[in-house]
Amino acid sequence: MPKLQRDRVVEYITSGKRFDGRDLNEFRDIVVEKAISKNAESAISLKLGNTHVYAGVKMAVTTPYPDSPAEGTFMTTAELHPMASSKFDIGRPGIEAIELARVIDRGIRESGFIDFGKLCIKEGEKVWQVFVDIIAINDDGNLFDAAGLAALIALGQARLPVYNEETGKIEHEFTENPLPLNKEALSFNTTFHKIGNQVIIDPSVEEQAFSDYRLSVAIGEGNKKCRITAMQKGKEGAINTEDMEKILNLVEEVYTKKYAEVKSLVFD
């Protein structure tokens, strides 16, 4: 990455402005397309500016884990496919994809969004297994938040397949029933990036390259207030006290401005 570009980006952001005219705490436009695959419990396409991801939910019936015999299971995968950027390689998922999948998984799991108890079919024997698979199609920055939101929408839009209890087979048909979700537990990922002396939201691919650190925060609601259910700091820079306070204030702001919109994207 060119040094002179870094200087310019940092200079501009330090003065409170961004190349695309956005405010420092502004998200790009979100465009969602549903029903990408008729063979899936749900599959959606999400664009955050020019960053583009697909996410889909598939389900299966399996035996539960021994330590939670009455709970369904949940797994998130993410593929940073080389089609999305010349930076991504063919082959097994690299650490970037692994981290992204695990961070998104934690945010969803720890929030209690999925009611795992209601995913039990027969205690100790049969439970539902929920898979969320995310694929990056175009990387123009902030895949973390785009992927996280896509995963949530896919879960919100999913419909359970028809399950024949006698034969133990899943029919090739869907019910009208949504996944058992605790709607109030919805928690969405927002990643904050430190550039120069500012903290910004939703970086473009160029801004992202020049950030010192990133902090992903899963933002939800509890007792009618903003509630955090997961966090992850990435990259080498370190967060000072002033920044931590700045970020927490921004978390409140994002909650106030965006929570209702996210809820409607996920459930409508």
Binding site: I36, S37, K38, E79, M83, A84, I137
Partner: protein, 241 residues
Amino acid sequence: MADKSLYTKRIDGRKMDEVRPITAKVGVVPSADGSAMFKTGGTRAIAVVRGPRVLHPQNKRNPQKGILRVSYGMMPFSVWDRIRPGPSRRSEEISKVSEWALDAVVDLDAFPNTVVDVFIQIPQADAGTRVAGLNAASMALAHAGIPMKEMISAMAVGKADKTIIVDVDKDEEDFHDGEGATDIPMAVTSRTKEIALLQLDGKISTEELKTAIEMGKKACDDVLAVQMKALKEGSAGVDNE
């Protein structure tokens, strides 16, 4: 006199030589050098081209011309039974035959030591995924400005019991009565009308195969018309419905 076939009417009502409705569009992934989407009925394919670009590691480079590298994959939620992410033996094979088909028309003599990567992904599958992928890949390569002698157009022809059909869908692939289903994916070059991809599984006589290939070539012409229109309209996209 030939025996009457058990498959007299197609499940979705199409004529025997009729392809499913096709939608095609280029430029669907802005950061790529070339990209395209190709949809045939319920099967959707996206192809992205990156290159010519530097090839690592060095020992894979060809000092006389560039290398075409095709990678085909299905998204986990594209089919009823979830596919585990990552390459499979099936996807590796399809990648290779697709690469051979496209190699027949691209000309990378001007780019020694480089690689042109073609990524094909299937978000939704209803049979004919490899031919949809090839159709998208051919458009994406053209869109990327890669030198090509001609285009590739692909279609799966087949047979259900004794009836030869064009553009086999999933229901027809699963047809079990009588002689069952025969699936013949094929790809044809646009100008010289040569066969660049040909696979078959099932049971078919040589006479029937000749007919199938003729019908397949005609169907590939239908595909070519849509590909041409999509390229000529740039990123506006086109339907043949």
